[in-house]
């Protein structure tokens, strides 16, 4: 282990490191900060939604005249909230941080296959995210055409949109580097005996996610390049002939189609939503198996369902486009594929729910978040069904019902799963324990507040209130009956932010506490826990690289001495 005894300066050890664990932590810290910023943007928006046209307290003066949030800026905040949460927050946390740190450990590898590429991926992400927010400081403010950036609106928008596109190009490049790395690592660096059907589900989810990133992101990169051309040198890929914007006939030659963008965008963005949820499934599976002390029910069906899910996610994209004038054949095709893709999700959720039966359930903080995930994802997934039926989507499209749908899957869904992962693996990363009381407080307050924010969205959505409205629908008659719910939701959103203080406090306190010396506090079976120390060694991970003899979730095996048999345990 000569590497460990090298004298390394702070700089090479923590900043320019090529150790997958350090890079994982870099990803984690950066993306958590972005989550916080994404939350901050949304907190301002929610003030405007609750009390339209009244001055925002504290920071109003930075926002606009009289402290009132201007409509353009509201749109900027919305677009940037979506972009930041998805591309700078959740994906880097779920894939960059968790994937980087735990995939090599769980498969018994000494590092990622390409450590330098790994560092390059992080720094591209970092640069991309910095570019993305410089948008706020250019004339006209940040991108304000929604995270979907539909042209011609995006093409004619202010300069922030150009910055957004450059940022996207960087971020896409970063994910491509990351995904190549994960794919090669999983295929090439599995320890001896770690056959495909012995991989922990978490590794499977990261593997499939990497595939999705690899194949779905480049078309968006192509689209981003085309939109950049439209914006910078006046091509008209997305611009039809004869548009008149504020009284001026646009100079473009025309002949393009805004629908082309939508197709290319959703070709990425639907797989993207499964990129958000698959790692969450993986984390939840690990935590549930560990804390029920029994194997996952239907390991194979889980794996096949996830592969199928990954494949199907490439052929459902147009369910976001039912109202663009879609014909019957294609409409029927995409409705059918959308219903088909709901089946593997049902299978996955069913497998997880069935895994609880017969277990010996420990309700620690990670388990609470994992358990909270199940019904929350259930609500989010189920409300996807009416959206998938074009006829129902006529009414529900682009209402708060959609906002409710996807926030249930990403916020109390994915974010909860990520919290579960953070609490679960914290002892591994630091060798210390988190505080259970604070953790439980964090869970219960977050759980209540999440539902307080997002449940009423279904009501306003059913009433027909559109999303992306600066005044929250105040000027529309059909919102009259539900408008007052906005205030209710906003209060819960702010309380949700306050509840995160439990988390932040917990992290600080736990980081400052003493090391416990435990290597495997949860009595887990996967080799990240059983064959390495906590925290793991520097470069190299293992004293001796483990050999794998059994499946990932051999808990409570009848006749065994202890209630868990590590994967590398020969006996």
């Amino acid at each position: 282990m000569s590497d460990n005894h090298h004298h390394q300066s702070f700089w090479t050890k923590y900043i320019w490191s090529t150790d997958h664990k350090v890079i994982g932590i870099q990803y984690a810290i950066t993306s958590l900060l972005w989550l916080l910023i994404g939350f901050g943007l949304m907190a301002i928006m929610r003030y405007q939604l609750a009390y339209p046209g009244t001055p925002v307290p504290f920071i109003g003066n930075f926002l606009g005249e009289g402290g009132i949030l201007p409509a353009e800026m509201y749109n900027s905040l919305g677009a940037m909230h979506g972009t930041i949460m998805i591309f700078l927050g959740v994906v880097p946390l779920a894939f960059g941080a968790f994937g980087n740190y735990f995939v090599p450990l769980q498969i018994g590898a000494v590092d990622m296959a390409f450590p330098k590429l790994n560092a390059a991926s992080y720094w591209t992400y970092f640069l991309g995210s910095v570019i993305m927010v410089t948008g706020f400081f250019v004339p006209g403010g940040a991108a304000n055409s929604g995270w979907t950036s539909y042209p011609p609106l995006a093409t004619t928008a202010t300069m922030g949109q150009t910055v957004w596109l450059w940022g996207m190009v960087m971020l896409i490049t970063s994910s491509l580097l990351g995904s190549v790395n994960i794919l090669v690592t999983v295929i090439q660096l599995r320890a001896e005996g770690m056959t495909w059907m012995k991989l922990p589900i978490f590794v499977w989810t990261q593997f499939i996610t990497a595939f999705l990133l690899l194949l779905a992101f480049p078309p968006l990169e192509a689209a981003a390049v085309l939109q950049l051309m439209d914006r910078i040198i006046d091509t008209s890929f997305f611009m039809p002939t004869g548009l008149v914007v504020s009284g001026e006939v646009l100079p473009n030659a025309g002949g393009g189609s805004p629908l082309l963008w939508q197709h290319l965008f959703w070709f990425l963005a639907h797989p993207e939503v499964y990129v958000l949820i698959l790692p969450a499934f993986g984390i939840v599976t690990e935590v549930i198996a560990n804390n029920t002390r029994k194997p996952i029910k239907g390991y194979k069906s889980l794996v096949y369902a996830m592969i199928f899910l990954g494949f199907m996610s490439f052929i459902v994209w147009a369910h976001h486009m039912y109202l663009t004038g879609m014909g019957t054949t294609i409409g029927a095709f995409f409705q059918t594929t959308t219903m088909i893709i709901s089946i593997p999700s049902v299978v996955i959720l069913t497998a997880l729910l069935l895994s609880l039966w017969g277990g010996s359930i420990r309700f620690n903080t990670p388990m609470l978040f994992a358990l909270g995930f199940l019904p929350m994802f259930g609500i989010g997934g189920l409300t996807g069904l009416p959206l998938g039926l074009a006829a129902a989507d006529i009414y529900l499209h682009d209402t708060y019902y959609v906002i409710g749908h996807f926030h249930y899957v990403v916020a109390p869904g994915t974010i909860f799963a990520l919290f579960a992962g953070i609490y679960y693996w914290f002892p591994k990363i630091t060798g210390k324990r988190t505080n259970e009381t604070l953790g439980k407080l964090h869970f219960f307050t977050s759980f209540v507040c999440m539902n307080g924010v997002f449940m009423p969205m279904f009501i306003t959505g059913l009433a027909g209130v559109s999303r992306r409205l600066w005044d929250g629908g105040e000027s529309y008659a059909h919102a009259a009956g539900v408008f007052q719910l906005n205030e209710f939701m906003s209060i819960f959103a702010w309380l949700l932010g306050v509840s995160q203080l439990f988390f932040i406090a917990n992290m600080i306190i736990s980081l400052r506490s003493k090391k416990t010396g435990e290597i495997n506090p949860w009595n887990a079976t996967t080799v990240d826990w059983t064959d390495t120390s906590s925290p793991p060694l520097g470069h190299g991970n293992f004293e001796t690289v483990p050999t794998i003899y059994r499946g990932p979730y051999e808990y409570s095996v009848p006749g065994a001495k202890s209630d868990y048999l590590p994967q590398s345990n020969k006996g």
């Binding site: 197709h263 663009t324 019957t328």
Partner: protein, 98 residues
């Protein structure tokens, strides 16, 4: 790979090279034929595909590659086909546009 095998490969490369040159000429020649737009496109793409497969199979050694790479490429090919059929789907998608 033994030196004999490599030498054998080199012969293949030369043959492929000649074939590619020839097919390039063919492609250009086709474009001067007056066979209508659609057959022209079909034929042109057909020849291009032959050239592409030659490059992929011999220069990139796909002809005797490992299964893992085949799997990767199958997955890519499927997503690529979906992507290419996207515009066709999109045209069908438009119900009635006046």
């Amino acid at each position: 790979m033994s030196p004999e095998e490599v030498k054998h490969h080199i012969k293949t490369y030369i043959i492929v090279f000649v074939a590619l040159m020839f097919l390039t000429v063919v492609t250009v020649a086709i474009s001067y034929l007056d066979i209508g737009v659609v057959p022209g496109i079909a034929l042109g793409l057909f020849v291009a595909s032959i050239k592409a497969s030659l490059v992929a199979c011999y220069f990139m050694h796909l002809i005797d590659e490992r299964t893992t790479i085949y799997w990767t490429l199958i997955a890519t090919a499927i997503s690529f086909l979906i992507l290419i059929f996207l515009p066709i789907g999109a045209m069908l998608a438009q119900a009635r546009v006046y």
